[in-house]
Amino acid sequence: MVLSKALGARIPRREDPRLVTGTATYVDDIALPGMLHVALVRSPHAHARILDLDPAPARRAPGVVAVWTGDDVRDRCGPLPVGPRIRDMKVPRRYPLVVDGVVRHVGDPVAAVVATRPDLARDAADLVEVRYDPLPAVVDVEQAAAPGAPVIHPDLGSNVCYRLTFGEPVDGALARSDVVVSLRIVQQRLIPAAMETRGVVADPRGGELTVWTSTQIPHVVRTALAQMLGLPEHQVRVIAPEVGGGFGSKLDVYGEEALVAALALALGRPVKWVETRRENFLATVHGRGHVEYVDLGARRDGSLLALRVRVLADLGAYSQLLTPGVPTNTGLMACGCYRIPQAFAEVTGVFTTLPPTDAYRGAGRPEATFLIERAMDVLAARLGMDPAELRRRNFIPPEAFPYRTPTGATYDTGDYAAALDRALQMVDYAALREEQRRLREQGRYLGIGISSYVEITGLGAAAGLPGGRWESATVRVDPTGSVVVLTGSSPHGQGEETTFAQIVSDRLGVAVDDVRVVHGDTRAVPYGVGTFGSRTTPVGGSAVYLACQRVRDKAVRLAAHLLEASPADIVWDGARLAVRGSPDRALSFAEVARAAYKGTRLPASEEPGLEATAVFASAESVFPFGTHVCVVEVDPDTGQVRILRYVAVDDCGVVLNPLLVAGQVHGGVVQGLAQALWEEAVFDGQGQLLTASLADYAVPRATQVPTMELAHTVTPTPHNPLGAKGVGEAGTIGATPAVVNAVLDALAPAGIEHLDMPLTPRKIWEALHAGRRR
């Protein structure tokens, strides 16, 4: 029984007015009396031994209250947590400051300066004298994995963190294939570059430790801080205030969170640290960073026979919270949308002397989609087949679901051909191919790129984390009938203050404006897992749905009692709860709520009050899918790519709010095409990040973004009560291969089969000219 028209409605985001009027509170807006400020001294070298570290000149500087080095930290703080538990995995211990005298990436923190003002702290940080003896930098992941490479963590024996395989070897099937496409793909490192950098404020006063931090996972941070600092967890409160973007880079427990808390506890005063933009480039996790070898075997008619994938994942210098786990998603999802009889993936996590990588929008799934979608296009070209036709021929058919891939993923539902057909129809594919043929005769480079993706949402957390594959929600009805939702999800731009209110309106009949959604404060909301992996709607939203069901059942029971009817005879039309056949015998929802709190006329079996807490847990992930089509023209004189059309058909099951889904797809596509065309973290041979500012690292601007034509197919999932799948990362996952396939389709007449990202004008121009010389 649906009680309002809210669910599925185009309701503007309720959180936006405070964001666009500058009245939201971010970590840097927090100011407490007597608050001290931290500046960190970071290594300028990628790999070096500290010969001498003299904090004395900094200690004498104006306003300085304390200077800490690794020794001060080791006594007060345990190592940072590592979530995944991969068999035979070797991970180094990491502390908030370097404790063993060796720095392992540019930006590795070696000392912390605390002063009465942020500028004084930064000035004093420059006075900390550190002498280094540089050691060999290990920048290239393949060299890092090779025998004889300098070992970054000598106690681990080698730079290989783990090696994990999916499926069974396929050498025989590849040998029997008529055609085998072999590619080496570089997934360049990316920098998440959230608009708000990280920041932490810790307040030790009042008998508990309160920590404000710009995080996606406040409860995980609370548990981790309690463990690292040896505090009883009930004395730790973590608050994620307004969080200005994360994209996975704040799905982490960072050394600075523990360091600032430890400083506050030791000094007995509030302490604040706000990351500079430059630190954000060096000290917040990066994303992607793979070298991949792909072999895809097929019959001459295009039917796929076997896939072999070898992934070398650049983990960086240390393991952050989920570092080793992220690349394993690439192995798991390597088969994409296709029925491939045999598949094998080997993922090797390798340490380098670069900043750590971790989850970044898509977290292993964009890499998987890219490698299979790129290989499909190359295969189509080799076979002389249309790339759309090759995809259609190999899609897992709708009747095959639930479908278990040879690499071990079980897809819930899907109709991949429906999304592809819709996208092709929107671009008028046949006419486009004809236009392409015509333009090629004129020497023009038009390209059409297709990317059909399937990805995982609603993932649980890793084995070593306190939370799992669930989320919590409390739905609390006030005596006047308004509703407060307390959710364990912790949004940083997703818009659940809107979508969760829509779920409540749908279930309880109250207006969206009568619902308030509270999140991010571990003292206010039930223990939760957090917001990442496109899990907010399918998992967090389902918890809200279940809590609403409990409230709804109780409201019906109370109304039945008050109206002297059977619960089965109560009809709820959204405005009133009435007795079937007697519309005059009715109560409003607010009247039921008031009676519930009054408590004097309740049945003996009912407690006063009207609220419920629910946890939605699902053993199954859900797998959204879709097809993106990109049309580009490449200017052969400049190498410039112009996007002419961008069509995205995404299937995220039931859509709760088309406006918010469109917003997620827009943002996701922009991040995906940024990887395809512009963004790359560039290091020199010494491990220096050469793109450590927004002037050098090519985050796209609004003028570079094409108009997007969006559509949806709707294939509900059976794994949650909303029938919804996540859509936060789908755009990114779909976009990158669509754009790259389009550019390479454009360049096909020049004999160019593959180029690595980003497809900058220079790279394209050089390839075109090299091709002409051939």
């Binding site: 480039f281 010494q686 050469l690």
Partner: protein
């Protein structure tokens, strides 16, 4: 980085200038202090701007190798707020018809802001400094 510069003076005269700390202190752009430490080593303070990255660097210049009056090899190591520099430079002096042709090569490793923000400009800055240095040597020859 590499380049050549021609000075209108005999090689021996140029060589003497290049080995005179007072001349070097006057001729090197941005240098504010050059103190001999013995053993062909000098402590130096130098102010350089690489695009937006401006700073004062303290460090050490060492004559690592010399073959009078033909060749001199310098090693520079220093640091300041914007980062650190390690560089080696080599000068070859050839006498051609009363003139001295100096061929120089240099290679630097930089860290910090100079690397991440200044890397696009550092080559140009180094070439400009070399040109300024040799022009200053010309003025020294004219004194």
């Amino acid at each position: 980085m590499e380049g050549t510069y021609t000075l209108t003076a005999p090689r021996q005269r140029v060589w003497e200038l290049l080995n005179d700390p007072d001349v070097l202190a006057r001729a090197t752009p941005g240098i504010t202090r050059l103190v001999p430490q013995g053993n062909d080593t000098y402590r130096a303070t130098i102010e350089i701007g690489v695009g937006p990255v401006r700073g004062t660097y303290e460090g050490q210049v060492r004559i690592a190798d010399r073959a009078p009056p033909e060749r001199i090899r310098l090693e520079v190591e220093g640091g300041g707020r914007p980062g650190t520099i390690r560089a080696v430079g080599e000068l070859h002096l050839d006498e051609r018809g009363g003139q001295t042709v100096i061929t120089y090569t240099g290679d630097a490793q930089v860290t910090g802001l100079i690397a991440s923000v200044g890397h696009r400009l550092i080559g140009g800055v180094a070439r400009q400094m070399a040109t300024e240095f040799f022009k200053a040597l010309e003025r020294e020859l004219a004194r």
